[in-house]
Symmetry: C2
């Protein structure tokens, strides 16, 4: 009897899950230390104890690996959970963003923004994952604030998001001024002044 061909994923030698993990961990470490230019296939291979061709069997090029590593290391924002009010939650979440941007992670974020400028696929992945994640989480909190009339509601939520995240990324990328929690507070004072 001719047996049905098994699905690809079940035939042959399975991928060693440690391979993927090792590659991403190596890429992440290289990214944080030396920026995007340090993330070469050769360096990843050596650091991860994996052969170069194997990496190409997972991703198409070095920036793609870097992006995957970055996105996997960057979970959904969750700093706002134990806040009492939506406004406090919003503030807490943006403080967390400021902290991350000011820390070494910030350099990785900047590197990914830079990488996304030259490759469409990377740009799409970055926008749909990292940017959207932060924007959406903030949008939810912002709309809760509006619904509960905790703030003078801004004309448009999307505009407000640009007014909040724009300056944060601007400082991150230009480096003309530090990214602090008080900077976030002053931004919020302008964009969504507390009611009364």
């Amino acid at each position: 009897m001719a047996s049905q061909p098994l699905p690809k994923s079940a035939r042959g030698r399975p991928r060693d899950p440690r391979t993927r993990v090792a590659i991403l961990a190596a890429a992440r470490a290289l990214l944080e230390r030396g920026g995007l230019t340090a993330v070469t296939i050769e360096a990843i291979a050596q650091k991860a104890g994996v052969s170069r061709p194997t990496i190409y069997r997972y991703w198409s090029n070095a920036p793609a690996v870097a992006m995957a590593a970055f996105l996997e290391a960057t979970g959904a924002p969750d700093a706002a959970r134990k806040a009492a009010t939506p406004l406090a939650a919003l503030r807490a979440q943006l403080h967390a963003v400021a902290d991350a941007f000011a820390a070494p992670t910030g350099r990785s974020v900047a590197a990914m923004v830079a990488a996304a400028q030259s490759e469409t696929e990377l740009a799409k992945a970055f926008r749909n994952e990292f940017i959207a994640r932060n924007r959406d989480a903030t949008r939810v909190l912002l709309e809760q604030c509006i619904a509960k009339k905790l703030v003078s509601s801004p004309a448009e939520t999307d505009l407000a998001l640009d007014l909040i995240f724009g300056p944060l990324f601007y400082r991150l990328l230009m480096g003309h001024a530090p990214i602090t929690r008080s900077f976030v507070d002053r931004l919020l004072d302008v964009v969504i002044p507390a009611r009364d």
Copy 2:
């Protein structure tokens, strides 16, 4: 009488001014078409009709040439000259920025922001020239508006500048929404609401 040694620039064969011009023009053209990755020393050399070593005698690497070409092509902002009031001038200048960011020039700006992430020297040059130029020009107009009480004065001018340029760069780099004149207008409505 032992004559003083002449300044370096007066001895020997003078540089052919066309060399520098040709290199920068070639770099600029390559930058606008193919982004930063297209600006290689080899491509510049070929397009400019100049040898590779000659380029290295002027600049240390390809991104440095690209930055020089970009900065030379980007003069000081001047769109605000024939405006009637400081507020109109401010608006006109920022409309010009929006137009530039929405045009092919915008891609060059984004490419330079990206390049500035990996090299300190480039970052400094970019910040001190391009960013400072735009910021300073806008600051002057903004302070005129405040002095004449045309707007509700923002708490800090620098914060206002971040709130204006931040979202513009944010949209340029992320590409999640278009950069239009009405976007500028809505930004200004929030950051410096017109008085009364």
